[in-house]
Symmetry: D2
């Protein structure tokens, strides 16, 4: 939508998945899987399913026309199914979208997109964890001044700080992995959510998603949990990025973003080197909590299909996946290229010490804590 | 971004303004106005300004390339200015973006987009007010059961309900009008916000925006107020749409959305007639509060330019304008085509009455209150 | 704080836990456990620990004085420790709060409060699940009109609706149970988070909390996950309460809140019977998403202790636990006393049918789905 | 509620107004004003009104009992009116709460509390503006390094920074003043919002509030606008507090909080001097956006009285007024006692300069901009 800011908001591989064509493709995959599953259950002929699958090629569909026609139905599935029926011809048309309702397609497509987005996010977060763990491991004895309420406090190991980053990312990642594995159920409830679960099971197998105990058309645990875990991830990333912006201050100078020469330049000040990745992480992360709140507010859904709350989820979840993906990609970049300055850390520590910090406090437990953190990640 | 849902989220004329090309165009208008203003102040030659203005044609710029290159700077203005300098040639290049910083261009472009978006939103809201006022005026004596906590209470005039809708929309509109008139200031502070206000004044005249007392690079009153007013507008629209979904329930049947035959159909249930406009209003409106919260959170901005909070505003404000615009367009549609059923209102009232409501309660003050509401709108 | 609304917001047993005296008591328990743990590790004499434990009696502390003095330190722990040292006398005073920092006490107390609040919330949610499951089991064949976008759609089993409620509550409960069991870690990092984990382990055993791999002073996974799970719970409760308000409408009349005669009366309309429990659930639940957003925003914490974000958590988490507890208690009340009217359900269904719904659609899969839902709860 | 943190969250004079007894007192004032107004309109005897006014003494009412009994009605007004009727005796009892509904009392009391809270907030903000203006005026030529994205950029006047603070606070204050003057309407609509406006006018005069064109029982412009303005105020305060925490960093050392010796001490580190006021401002301000979002979400209100959304406002608005009041009081304290170090500013500037900043950039426009800002405040 606001493509000119995509450099900030849409880094990483999640963004295209949740764009218009990504959604279109996922919806068509759901229609194909539905046809295959209904054929498997003997509800439609196998040849019809094959014909439908063959027709579900997103490049043959007119995204703009579907989006425009969707307005008449508050769902793009009505025009999508109409186009799909036209594509397969009159003989096969009755077997398209068989017994399903629009929400089945949108919800299942959302879970499919989410799974793929989580895969790419997970790859970036895993690399970020590894980079943070490396910083922790190699900086066990790198002393810096610990700062509380932004005031100098006592010496601390930079490696321990980085171990905390790694542990936080590792924890957020574990939440996403659990959701990816068991928390993304297909929706195949039919018009009022009473369809037999056999179909849902077959579609789930076809798409590699979970089979829910019940249709969840107005019981929105799955999107709410997903949103919460994405919000938690961006929160951890924001902590790391905030630390880097503070360590990179001119007066502090303990860390800087690496990367090539062009990055971080200013239109007005040639001498500046901006912490581009950290700022981008923060730009994305600050947008997440409001979106999570929207997803939670939208759980109040009426009867068998909500009038407004469900429809509010679509764009919100898309944006949340996009921004979390961008934050993860920028965060990985940040950690993989972070350059620290141990001499400056020591200098700042000595200066502070003169001003009162008890230098004597050792870094003794740091290495033990780092070992625990790194071991925890391996689990 | 999620174009397949644009039928719901992007109705009305505000959406294209805040899309990528809309932003690109607005930024180029700002560069042209800046050139004209610096020429007016004698800082650059008049011919340079004319050459720059001539080059500021959005269709000649490569939006995707700019967005991609923006990643290296957390702002699209760096590559935009580079392209613009290339377009005007070496002799004029030094006069491009003269003394300005990226934030000057992005913030001023945001205000320009906002002003245009508010114009289109205002047209839709004004029409919605008129439609609601008409419903109020023609239904002064249309009795219905008033409902509190969703329980039947006492008789009330439907016209009074509609007068409340009109008054709410009128009030939200007044806030937007005040902001459009005096609350959208240019930003022309230069690198650290200390540039002389003369330039800001000249740019403001050129673009039809306000001239601020001071640069507001990290004092974010203007975007915060704008966000609040948009949130208030969508809140009023949500109230109206919620009422309509409730009045349109099968068991109530007191109102229905008009419009052509196709609209509101279901993929699974041919007999259904869905309240498409009301649901669309609610889908947009439910997304606004979280976005407003993000804008308010983003007011905590560091020193002379924020590291993250400012950059979080861009997409958030764009989305808020887009959704408020869509909600307004759908709300206008809803009110202009609303069909009410006075007979059913009376029938429901009589039934309730048998169950205990004091029928005697007159509608006496309704007409007086409606007169006050309609008079208030005229002001 | 706003005690006059406590009937709505503070039902259930969680509210007093997170009130001022609840926090005071929990902080003293942490000080006592810290003393015991440092004695266990040989850092302080056993008799000192015993004397400290004996002095940690909340009724002997002046809550208002502590709250007032806390202002000078942005933490109540400074005056609390001062009072505690005065209580134990000069000889023992040096052993109080040994090697700990304010955040250790506040964070560990928060986790302790959360565990107890979750216990009481869990009891209410478990009862609510059971009540919903009973409704599901006994209404397998109770036909009602399914409603989508608040329009009549196709027949559905009320038991299936209730099974969805039960499944949603059961899922939200599972999240809270997991957090209560392993997601509430003590914080014992000392001034800058580098203290040896042995102490944390000993305090965790003493208090029945988890021992974290690392201090989490600025890695806020634990409070963020807790907040997310509370937000999800209130979201499910809101769905149920919304359904009840809609079913209880005069024109629908398919459900009503039971309970004694007084409840639900109006100051102005004697005939009214308001759905008090459902409205109270909604009043609490609507407040949760904004609080969750605050908790997520607050994850951006600087260095070794945040300047503002951490301190913002205290009241927010308290309020969230209080409101989730109240929503759970009201939700249990709602479900345990819900009265449904199968005759009215059938009547409404027949009326709708005349208007076009396909009556033929059976409830066939409902019983199978209900079995799955109930089995899922048993796991 | 969480009294132990009141030192942080409840500074200033607004907090007691919105506590339980404050609400009780305000509701009784509304009942007294309602009695006086109905007497003025000849609806009840003058002596009855006098007897009611005499009985409206909050100290005679049992807050806890009212709060507990409120649960049965989702409103404290039912038990309050019952107690009030008992207090005036049988003869006068029928004239109590005459023709009003619970919402009339709660909404009008909320506006009354808000007006008083705004008065005290305004006093603190006005003093904060004055302190910031003084800093601006006396530091026109105090050079410091301007910082963008937390990187050193170009020299800037500290006075100009302070002028920005003053302008931001002045703008936020203007919004609150406008709301206090014309944006706090009484609510006197009776059971379904159709009562004649004459009564509202009389009550408005009695209480010094605005008389609305229409009852606004489900058109929630007034609370939404109030919430937005409070969110904007806390956003500006957060900007200032964030700047102070950054300037007060050990490595920067350009500003410090003044105040007495005790304040800012640590339990663990005797040498520390924490920026207590700035951290307290941030702790309050970070909680506001989520609360504003709740108020906006709550605008979606059904028919003539909402089932849940209205009831969610009570605690949210109370908390928002309390936190905004505390942030304002702490912000005033911060600005009135801020100590800046011009020598350190110059030193940091020179060091940065060696690293590349163009020292030549003058502070020329700073004084002109400061004049404009200060003149703008005088208006």
């Amino acid at each position: 939508m606001t493509g000119i800011f995509d450099g900030t908001y849409a880094r990483g591989a999640a963004a295209p998945l949740v764009a218009g064509r990504g959604w279109l493709g996922a919806m068509l995959e759901v229609e194909a899987a539905l046809a295959a599953a209904t054929a498997e259950l003997g509800e439609i002929p196998g040849e019809a399913a094959a014909a439908i699958a063959a027709a579900c090629m997103p490049e043959r569909f007119d995204l703009e026309a579907i989006a425009a026609a969707a307005a008449d139905h508050v769902t793009p599935v009505v025009p999508l199914v109409r186009e799909l029926r036209a594509a397969v011809g009159d003989a096969v048309a009755p077997y398209v979208h068989c017994g399903a309702t629009s929400q089945d397609v949108v919800d299942t497509a959302a879970m499919l997109l989410a799974r793929r987005a989580l895969e790419t996010i997970d790859a970036d977060v895993a690399a970020a964890v590894e980079a943070a763990a490396r910083l922790a491991d190699t900086n066990r004895a790198t002393a810096m001044i610990g700062r509380t309420l932004l005031q100098p406090a006592l010496p601390v190991s930079f490696g321990l700080r980085a171990a905390g980053w790694a542990a936080g990312l590792g924890g957020a990642r574990a939440d996403l992995v659990r959701i990816a594995e068991t928390g993304l159920p297909v929706q195949m409830g039919g018009p009022v959510g009473s369809r037999s679960p056999a179909l849902a099971g077959a579609v789930a197998r076809a798409l590699g998603l979970s089979a829910p105990a019940l249709p969840w058309h107005t019981i929105r645990l799955a999107p709410a949990r997903l949103a919460g875990a994405l919000g938690t991830l961006t929160g951890v990333l924001a902590k790391i990025a905030r630390d880097v912006t503070l360590l990179a201050q001119g007066e502090v100078g303990e860390a800087a973003e690496g990367g090539d020469g062009e990055r971080g330049g200013s239109t007005a000040m040639a001498h500046k080197h901006n912490p581009v990745a950290a700022v981008s992480v923060l730009a994305c992360a600050k947008r997440a909590p409001g979106l999570v709140a929207t997803m939670l507010s939208a759980m109040e859904q009426e009867h068998e299909r909500a009038a407004g709350a469900w429809q509010a989820e679509w764009g919100t979840l898309s944006e949340l996946l996009r921004l979390a993906g961008s934050a993860a990609a920028w965060g990985r970049d940040l950690l993989e290229h972070l350059v620290i300055d141990p001499d400056r850390m020591r200098l700042n520590l000595e200066r502070t010490s003169a001003a009162g910090a008890e230098q004597g406090a050792g870094l003794g437990a740091a290495s033990e804590l780092i070992d625990r953190a790194l071991a925890g990640l391996a689990r």
